[in-house]
Symmetry: C2
Subunit: 133 residues, 2 copies
């Protein structure tokens, strides 16, 4: 059947595209810095070493679960290193790795672009909303 063939083709094209997205480095990067808590935590770490509770205080919106999950994934990706000091109670410190520090200029570029252009985006949104009831 022709319809079967077309459906089959779409499936293959989709699988191929999914594979492309998985392997594309830019896409991977987007998944990392496009994440809300990743970027918030990275922002704090740019200032230097911090402890778990410091982050928790600096980021009042984060749940313990998300904070742990975020730190784990940043550690797994090699952006952050975790060091435990055995004491009572234990102390855990997080620091940017060299790879993590290499990310800073890119984050700066994003901040710079945002500062210069996001007001225009806000204006475009207001304009759009005003004209689309």
């Amino acid at each position: 059947m022709t319809t079967m063939t077309a459906a089959r083709r779409r499936e293959e094209a989709k699988a191929e595209f999914d594979a492309y997205m998985d392997s594309c480095p830019t896409n991977g990067l987007r998944g990392i810095i496009g994440n809300k808590w990743n970027s918030m935590v990275l922002l704090r770490l740019e200032q230097g070493t911090v402890r778990y509770a410091d982050l928790s205080r600096a980021l009042p919106g984060v749940s313990a679960k998300m904070l742990t999950q975020t730190l784990r994934s940043l550690e797994r990706d090699g952006f952050v290193s975790r060091s435990v000091t055995l004491a009572v109670p234990v102390q855990v410190e997080y620091t940017l790795t060299l790879l993590g520090e290499r990310l800073i200029p890119l984050l700066d570029a994003m901040r710079h672009w945002a500062d210069r252009n996001m007001p225009e985006v806000d204006a475009a949104r207001a304009h759009y909303d005003a004209n689309n009831p």
Copy 2:
């Protein structure tokens, strides 16, 4: 009660932090370029004007719903302009606006960083996974 006060303080801090995140331009930008389909559509539009069906074909993973939603939000944000040609059947074309074009260098910077550094991230992940059973 002391616990009440502490809870109250946390609530206030959280509200304040949420307000900060809403107003922070960098955070707004992250919401835009950190979105999977936004960035995929932007990537196509860098090449020039495209029609709805072109995008649908170029992005085999996207559902009609997501594609429409993505294009609407990019239009609302002022990155993309939409022009309708009345014919049978109708033609709708999407193009980058000037604001949208200003985004290109930033996207290039992301691609550049990703190409140079994501392999190291992949290695870090493999290493982490190997050591954490």
